[in-house]
């Protein structure tokens, strides 16, 4: 692959530089030969010819306008005449050559080929796990930011040159090379590293559904083992995508519906979820209180339909306001108003009495208008607004809204959660199915340990590479519990600021394992805590003395001598005990 790339670059260079190169060679040849043939005179007046080497030396400093003067001796008039000729032709030939070089560097085709080559070699050199992001719009850039925050490298492919330029200006803490190309061309997918052993997943986020489908299929063909995450809002494409193995379809509108549903039925879980995905301004333990009762749903497009579906599951049948809604379509018993959601129609839908309003149109100014009207007519109403454009963030922050759902942000968070800690979604689903008290307990524990700090999720595998000391301990048959691992090395009675969320053992998943859960070799544990606690935990897992102290409460002897002494003392002690 690299060879053919190199050939393309060489070919373009050769094609562009051939003529200026020949022009230079020709001018040099004529000038040098002429200079060597024209007779000169030495100081004594004898005829003397310039050697070819001296002629070349003379021509070099003349043609490049350096002009050292008449070397080795003063010239004759014939020589000077020829020197004038040499000067003009040489300088013109050089200008021509330099101009051609500059034109070549500015040639868009050449720069593209060069960029592609640099990009491919940068990707090839990535030594840590990375993700490919196809499509660098709102969602793509948020996802890239999220990956960077979690120290994961990314590779970005987007057909829009402006977006790739924008990428170069971001201050990511990790490698994030970008290529301006159409990712549905297989060559570019390969360049982006789809077959690279460290490539963890391909995330497809273009606005065009057909392109997305094409990229997903192509990525699967190029590397059947790769995970593909694809955004899709069209049912037709989703059906295609779901057929493919290892492809996850993310539908932003469905996620909206799920989040809303969660906010209504299990507000605490919704709060926990938002906190875990580091949603802006969310504090653990301060859950939203979404009222049940009459609702108004403005906008009944793809998202509105998901909203209605999930609200109906909880016995809420909102009045629908949408100019494009089909009145003949039998939805349910609720009121349907076929109009824009202005003051009049909102009043018609009974805004003064409703418990909540969803401003869910695909136009931000409409949504903000609905918010203003709602505030004027019913201050107590719970407001949920859909933010379409990421650039309008400041306005939505300023608006007095109970819940903002932003397509790009929720999608990016969901994908990030799926890529980095797929088990978290499993945990949320599990908590959703269980009794409310379990969520309350977990929130209480997390509040006690992490508190107001940013939650940090990480995963520990009890294998030799990641936890040498723990492996040794378990191989020796010493029983240890989850609590032992998270004890604080400074004070054994306290624990580190982290909570084990789940444990994977032989393919099985133990949700919210208890402190007294025994650990085994090969267990994978997902923790939520502070970054500091992760470092301390990793240190414990790799230091046999600290770990033994945490498990038993006794400082084990260090070194062969003290070990021997300890064993001897123990033996004599037990012998004394037997005698008495």
């Amino acid at each position: 692959m690299a060879a053919s790339e190199l050939d393309r670059v060489t070919m373009v260079v050769l094609r562009y530089m051939r003529r200026p190169f020949f022009a230079l060679v020709l001018v040099y040849a004529i000038g040098i030969i002429g200079m060597a043939l024209i007779p000169g005179r030495d100081a004594d007046g004898n005829v003397e010819y310039m050697s070819l080497f001296h002629a070349f030396y003379f021509f070099t400093y003349t043609a490049t306008t350096t002009g050292f003067g008449e070397i080795p001796g003063a010239f004759t008039d014939e020589q000077r005449l020829w020197a004038i000729f040499c000067l003009y032709t040489g300088v013109i030939a050089w200008f021509y050559a330099i101009g051609s070089t500059i034109r070549l560097l500015q040639n868009p085709h050449f720069t593209h080929v060069l960029n592609e080559r640099n990009f491919a070699s940068t990707v090839k050199r990535i030594s840590e796990p990375f993700f490919i992001i196809c499509g660098f719009g709102d969602t793509g850039s948020l996802l890239a930011r999220g990956l960077s925050d979690h120290n994961f490298a990314g590779v970005v492919v987007d057909a829009d040159p402006e977006r790739i330029k924008a990428l170069a200006l971001r201050d990511y803490t990790v490698k994030m090379p970008g290529l301006c190309a159409d990712a549905s061309v297989p060559q570019y997918l390969v360049d982006a590293g789809v077959t690279h052993p460290n490539c963890r997943a391909v995330v497809v986020l273009n606005s065009d559904e057909d392109t997305n489908l094409q990229i997903a299929v192509m990525a699967k063909y190029l590397n059947p083992d790769i995970r593909v995450v694809c955004r899709s809002t069209s049912l037709r494409h989703e059906e295609h995508l779901r057929e493919l193995k290892g492809v996850t379809v993310i539908d932003p509108f469905e996620i909206f519906g799920q989040l809303l549903s969660m906010a209504i039925t299990t507000p605490k879980l919704h709060n926990l979820n938002s906190w875990l995905v580091r949603a802006h301004g969310v504090k653990l333990g301060q859950a939203l209180q979404v009222p049940k009762g009459d609702w108004i749903l403005c906008g009944y497009g793809r998202m509105g339909q998901w909203f209605r579906k999930y609200m109906a599951n909880h016995g809420i049948y909102p009045s629908i306001i949408d100019p494009n809604v089909d009145l003949n379509e039998h939805i349910g018993s609720e009121m349907i108003i076929q109009a824009y959601a202005d003051r009049k129609t909102l009043q018609e839908a009974g805004i003064e009495e409703v418990a909540g309003v969803v401003a869910g149109t695909d136009n931000d100014s409409n949504n903000l208008g609905i918010l203003l009207n709602t505030e004027a007519l019913n201050q107590k109403a719970f407001t949920i607004v859909r933010q379409n454009n990421h650039d309008n963030q400041i306005v939505f922050d300023a608006a007095n809204v109970d819940l903002v759902l932003q397509s790009s942000l929720t999608t990016a968070r969901r994908i990030l959660k799926f890529l980095i800690s797929p088990l978290i979604q499993t945990l949320i689903d599990y908590l959703n199915d269980q009794d409310q008290r379990l969520t309350d307990d977990l929130i209480q524990r997390l509040q006690n340990t992490v508190g107001d700090q940013i939650p940090h999720l990480w995963r520990v595998n009890l294998c030799k590479r990641e936890a040498a000391a723990a492996t040794e301990l378990l191989n020796d048959g010493i029983p240890a519990t989850l609590l032992d691992l998270t004890r604080n090395p400074l004070d054994r009675q306290r624990t580190l600021d982290c909570v084990p969320l789940m444990m994977q053992r032989e393919g099985e998943c133990i949700m919210l394992p208890s402190d007294w859960q025994r650990i085994q070799l090969g267990d994978e544990i997902v923790y939520c805590g502070t970054e500091r606690s992760e470092q301390l935990l990793l240190a414990t897992l790799n230091n046999p003395y600290t770990l033994k102290f945490l498990v038993s409460g006794i400082d084990p002897p260090r070194g062969y001598f003290f070990n021997w002494l300890d064993q001897r003392l123990n033996r004599s002690k037990s012998a004394a005990a037997v005698e008495s």
């Binding site: 230091n543 002897p557 260090r558 070194g559 300890d566």
Partner: protein
């Protein structure tokens, strides 16, 4: 308080101080440096090295390495002394004495590193 840590710390600090005792004085004057102190320093250093064997932590490995360096340098110094001052001579010449004491100072640095690591590790664990 842990008797093991006391013994361990005792030998490491004793190695350091004996090393210092040997090194202190004019660098080229054999009357300022006792060959007895040098020999005892080597002995204590070897004991300290022995106590460090078998510690499986990173810190333990570093301590052992520092100790081995000190042993090597002190034993070299002792060998130079033997070679340059055979049986009952008045003492090594000024040039030879400079070599011997320089080696001793090198060992002192390694011993200081050892002591700093020990103190740092103890402070970190704060138990």
């Amino acid at each position: 308080m842990n008797l093991e840590r006391v013994t361990f710390g005792f030998f490491i600090l004793l190695a350091l101080t004996l090393n210092f005792v040997f090194v202190v004085g004019d660098i080229d004057n054999y009357r300022h440096h006792s060959v007895w102190i040098l020999t005892i320093a080597i002995l204590v250093n070897l004991i300290a090295t022995g106590l460090k064997l078998g510690d499986r932590t990173q810190v333990g490995a570093l301590l052992l390495a520092a100790s081995l360096v000190a042993d090597l340098l002190l034993i070299s110094a002792r060998i130079v002394w033997i070679v340059t001052n055979p049986e009952g001579g008045p003492g090594p010449s000024a040039e030879d004495m400079v070599t011997i004491v320089s080696l001793g100072i090198g060992a002192l640095v390694a011993n200081i590193v050892s002591a700093v690591i020990l103190i740092g590790d103890t402070l970190m664990s704060r138990r």
